[in-house]
Subunit: 344 residues, 2 copies
Amino acid sequence: MKTTIKEVALKANVSIATVSLVLNKNTRISPQTRETVLKAARKLNYYPSRSARALVSKQTGNLGFVLTKDHFLRTEPFYTKIFLGTEIEANNKDYYVFLTVMNSVYNESDSLPRFVLEKNIDGIIIAGKVADAFLVKLKKYNIPIVLIDYIPKKGDYSIVIMDNIQGSISAVEYFIKLGHKNIAFIAGDISHPSISERLRGYKLALKRNKIMLNNSLILTKYSSPNRTNGYKAAEHLLSISKKISAVFCCNDAMALGLIDCLKDKKPSLLKKISIIGFDDIEEDTRVSPTLSTVKVNKIDLGVEAVKLLVNNIKGKNITNKKIIIPTELILRESTRNNGKYNLN
Amino acid sequence: MKTTIKEVALKANVSIATVSLVLNKNTRISPQTRETVLKAARKLNYYPSRSARALVSKQTGNLGFVLTKDHFLRTEPFYTKIFLGTEIEANNKDYYVFLTVMNSVYNESDSLPRFVLEKNIDGIIIAGKVADAFLVKLKKYNIPIVLIDYIPKKGDYSIVIMDNIQGSISAVEYFIKLGHKNIAFIAGDISHPSISERLRGYKLALKRNKIMLNNSLILTKYSSPNRTNGYKAAEHLLSISKKISAVFCCNDAMALGLIDCLKDKKPSLLKKISIIGFDDIEEDTRVSPTLSTVKVNKIDLGVEAVKLLVNNIKGKNITNKKIIIPTELILRESTRNNGKYNLN
DNA sequence: GTGAAAGCGCTAACAT
DNA sequence: ATGTTAGCGCTTTCAC
């Protein structure tokens, strides 16, 4: 049988109220009794009952974490790392996290996660792009929400995102520093806020450095920013016969596709042009040349989301807040070249 | 405010006891009152409070799912799919699942997952190989445990595993049916039960078909069964100048490494020898030749684990049970060849 | 077949 | 500074 507050009170020779007060860090208890109680609790291996606490406090102590199936099962463990971050911080803050996976497409008539219906959570974290209909439906439940890595077009939310713009600027400005002037940008799904911000960063960096924007060097017609589409984008770049000496890719997957294509079609070019991706995935260091990239600390995204969410739950920050996680430019072999050569 | 049982009772003109009885599917309530109560509950959007129920019933309604960090963050979403299965079945059985990730190395002095210490779960699922010290420590808590994809050397546990032996036999016998006689086996980490069972299946299939075992065709010295070690194993196979016309790999990762190596060293051989892997990972259909493999239904592993665990919790199956999930041989391009050619 | 009431372990208001 | 006590929402025993 589990130890209860009663037994602790008995052992410490105080009332159960005193034990409760001590455990909830109430200051009006004398340091002496505090110690006695704590010692008794430790000795009895006492952990307060979550259910009893929840029942009286109207707080479950649980957080919900929502992910689409696509995102959860992605080969690259991007979202799983974010989840790991939430787990770590939830532990610190004494919360539990329920992870739930929903279908990637959401219809108006689809139900909400069970923990929402049953009100078995105090707040909810949603990572990655989800259907707007889902968010609208969810909002009615008046549960604190924090979004990670996605900014919906409509509605006001607490959000944790990475610094896509600054990350892109640092990549493109590094190219410029190396001497590159003809820098291409390849992307997929430009409707995704993160991707469009990376394009914005690319443009800003060029502008800031007084380099004329050349729209024919910007390829964003691909639906999904994956390796196959990176390959296709590279084929296109090779075909347009422009001077291109560097390519900034909206993510590492596309950059890897680009490298695949050059290996197949013009291996000599790999020593001549420079490439930077975005994300810092494992494959970056296995491919040859190893891929320079803009690194995102995924754990931090999760950690900050929990901090923000718990603040919202506790009512500290009623207004919605946007937290931006900084990125870091990681230089590897794919940026050894200085702009003297180009794709033609 | 959340609807309570009181309000439902009021609306249905019955006592709260009756509502409770109806909700717990007690049969001594008349069908009429049953209907009235259910209708009232539906109308009021009533969901029983988990905390109140847990408090009185001494059951949290939660399950714990433990994974090492290595397993959780693996590029191939093997364990995440298993988790998905547990989520699905937990939903059916009205349980919630806490996913927790622990360090891959476990020291005696390391603590147990918080949900164990706080007794905030009714049962626990552990997927993949974990430290024995961890299991020993956990057993003391007398929580029902189900292991997935791992059989500890010591101790008695409820276990859900895939049919490694039958899967391996079907692969090797398919080779034999094609006309292959010189079939190599490559593996890593033979100390892992799953891997050693696959070796056993390989040996059994040969024996059954009266093919002499040739130990020089069995390569198991590699630590981890990954792509790089598959490449190394292939290099070794190429060097030993034996007649080898088919290779059974302990998993798809090593098989992919084998294909990588052949592509680099002797591309012509890819059309001549046959290869079968194990797992059915996504990359199998992207590589050329597409890889034949023994498919494992990961979702099922999770589903069956929850079924078994819930039975254990409810006290239906006191004895520990071993559930074996069948595998399926998936034939693709890598098994088009008939044993006429070999690595030399 | 249904209801009254005790009590699960805890928090918090109030009393001392 | 510490104790008494009501009550959170539910299940379950016992009465009717």
